[in-house]
């Protein structure tokens, strides 16, 4: 069972959920490049300019761990990264859990992603434009750890550790992505977990995802916002248990 975090945070996102599956499954959580304890020197702006580069890393982790018939649990953009990975290696992940997924954030004709391209440009510009604020505001763990490198590896000391430059690239890859055409190609059994009042992945987007994936089911959680794995972990755990 492989847990993948979304944009804006690292694997600590899963800390309330992962322990519940440790007795029944072999559980692995990881940090994408630029997040948590990953090595920022391995960053390649070209490779990571699209979600495909991140999916490549998931497949490499799967191969390294020799995962077969595994369960991929992806939050937010990771749901789509997991989709790309399982399309590429259907035997690696036979079950896909998508928590608050969105295949496209920008509106497109009849499709309502919730954002205009101007909104997204503004977001990306604000991240590019204001790296100091970004790093001070959203990566205080990095700032704190600069003085105390010995804490860098300690999970309890770091929350949502991000490299500001890489995070900015991840934001671009995430919010300009369009994975709609990939959804029908998913052969894995798929569970979509959806919250209410999620401005990033609204309810109708969750329904769209369910409708496009052949073998899929949607569960509506009694939670609001975009991060049920943090705000309503018990519901997330129960829904995943039911499904697997």
């Amino acid at each position: 069972m492989l847990f993948a975090h979304g944009f804006g945070c690292d694997q600590t996102m899963w800390r309330h959920v992962v322990p519940s599956f440790e007795s029944s499954h072999k559980v692995v959580a990881f940090d994408y490049i630029g997040a948590g304890g990953s090595n920022p020197n391995a960053y390649d702006p070209d490779k990571y300019s699209t979600l495909g580069g991140y999916a490549e890393d998931v497949v490499r982790i799967g191969k390294e761990l020799d995962i077969r018939d595994g369960i991929f649990v992806g939050h937010s953009v990771s749901a789509m990264i997991g989709a790309l990975a399982t399309i590429q290696e259907p035997e690696m992940f036979s079950t896909l859990i998508m928590v608050s997924p969105s295949p496209r954030y920008i509106d497109d004709e009849d499709y309502i992603g919730g954002f205009s391209s101007d909104d997204i440009e503004e977001l990306l510009a604000s991240l590019d434009d204001n790296p100091l604020a970004w790093s001070a505001a959203l990566a205080p763990a990095i700032v704190a750890n600069a003085d105390r490198p010995e804490h860098g590896q300690e999970l309890t000391e770091s929350f949502c550790k991000l490299d500001p430059k890489i995070a900015s690239g991840f934001a671009r890859a995430t919010f300009t992505s369009d994975s709609r055409a990939d959804l029908p190609k998913i052969t894995a059994r798929t569970l979509v977990l959806q919250c209410k009042e999620d401005i990033i992945a609204p309810e109708h987007v969750g329904e769209y995802v369910r409708d496009q994936i052949p073998n899929s089911k949607l569960v509506m959680l009694d939670a609001t916002g975009h991060c049920p794995n943090l705000t309503a972990p018990d519901q997330v755990i129960a829904a995943i248990r039911d499904f697997v």
Binding site: G8, M13, W134, A137, P140, I200, G225
Partner: protein, 385 residues
């Protein structure tokens, strides 16, 4: 002593604190806001209370809020100094710094947020980023220009070598003719000048090559070549400075591996300095010897005013010239090149200077030049040029 004011048992009012203030519940619904925030947003308490806090944010800030702010708050219980944009009633952006803290759990969970206006700081950060980008661009340009200049110097130096060589051989031929005493003197002076010119050009070429990333190339030879080179350099400088006394003492035991002509170039530089800066009333002592440990040393010692301590530090930096001496001799590359030649040999150039003597000594430890080959392939890259 004045009466101590009674502590109010009621919760403190934030209505008039000089920062924006807001409390929301476990579902992000606003429970309380203060005057400062109302003023910034041009909205009243009744318009704000009961609405979702995310509605106060710009669209870009909502994404950051949901993907980073909320997770950090959930994981850590607090967030310090996040930078987001609020949206006022008229749609204008209000850049703020905010810190938040969460208390209680479940339905009783309350989050308190304090806001500070950040437009000036945001502008300052943008200016900083812009200044940095400009400085980086300027640096790149300067580096590119510097490289071009060094290439130019390298080419110029190389092109100068040929005419200098031809003057040198012409004067050499002239010296073999029967000349008047004055003619003989002129030929000797010219030979000295040509030698010095050639050394300067070689120094410049080595400097440019170093800067362009090449190293000082060594063609290893033995002690016989070294001795010949040292004698030749001393004799040349004696001939060009007949009014000066240069004493030479050679005592080599066993084998020495080095690039003879390069060590000759080093000696030329050291001896040139000694002639320029040393006291002309005293002889200059040149010694070449091996030590019991198998190292070899080449020393040049002169009497005269000591090198001031302030100059010591940067003595081997390129383009360092004595400031207390009417030195019209060179570019200040001599000691730099000499020390680079020492480094290329795995050795070093030591200096000591007191009221009596100034001594420069090349020390090459045994095995200091391991890994070098006779073919000249063993190029030593020199850093820090």
């Amino acid at each position: 002593m004045p009466d101590r004011p009674e502590l109010s048992p009621a919760p403190p009012s934030f209505q008039n604190t000089p920062c924006g203030h807001l409390v929301h519940d476990d579902r992000g619904i606003i429970l309380e806001t203060n005057n400062r925030l109302h003023g910034w947003l041009a909205m009243s308490a009744s318009e704000l209370d009961g609405t979702p806090v995310i509605g106060l944010l710009s669209k870009a800030s909502r994404v950051v809020y949901e993907t980073s702010f909320v997770p950090m708050l959930a994981l850590n219980g607090k967030v310090d100094g996040a930078s987001l944009d609020l949206i006022a009633k008229d749609g204008s952006k209000v850049p703020v710094l905010l810190s938040a803290e969460t208390t209680g759990s479940g339905k009783e969970c309350r989050t308190t947020i304090a806001f500070l206006l950040a437009d000036a700081r945001r502008a300052f950060e943008r200016d900083l980023a812009k200044a940095r980008a400009e400085a980086e661009a300027q640096l790149l340009l300067t580096q590119r220009e510097g490289k071009l200049r060094e290439q130019f110097v390298a080419i110029l130096g190389h092109d100068l070598l040929n005419p200098v060589a031809s003057i040198s051989s012409s004067v050499g031929m002239l010296a073999r003719e029967s000349l008047s005493e004055t003619g003989q003197e002129i030929v000797e002076l010219t030979q000295g000048s040509v030698k010095r010119m050639s050394l300067l050009i070689h120094n410049i070429l080595d400097f440019a090559r170093n800067r362009l990333g090449g190293g000082i190339e060594l063609n290893m030879s033995d002690e016989a070549v070294l001795e010949t080179e040292v004698r030749q350099v001393v004799n040349e400088l004696r001939a060009a400075n007949t009014d000066r006394e240069i004493q030479l003492d050679i005592s080599l035991q066993g084998k020495v591996r080095c690039d003879g002509p390069r060590v000759g170039q080093l000696l030329s530089n050291l001896l040139g300095n000694a002639l320029t800066y040393g006291d002309p009333e005293h002889p200059i002592f040149v010694s070449l010897n091996t030590t019991d440990e198998g190292a070899f040393e080449l020393g040049v010692r002169n009497a005269g005013a000591p090198i001031p301590p302030s100059a010591m530090e940067r003595l081997f930096d390129p383009f360092m010239r004595s400031t207390n001496h009417g030195d019209q001799m060179g570019l200040g590359l001599g000691l730099y090149i000499a020390s680079e030649i020492a480094k290329a040999h795995g050795g070093k150039l030591e200096v000591s200077s007191n009221d009596d003597w100034t001594t420069f000594t090349l020390v090459v430890p045994p095995g200091g030049i391991d890994g070098q080959t006779d073919s000249g392939q063993g190029e030593t890259a020199i850093g820090g040029a």
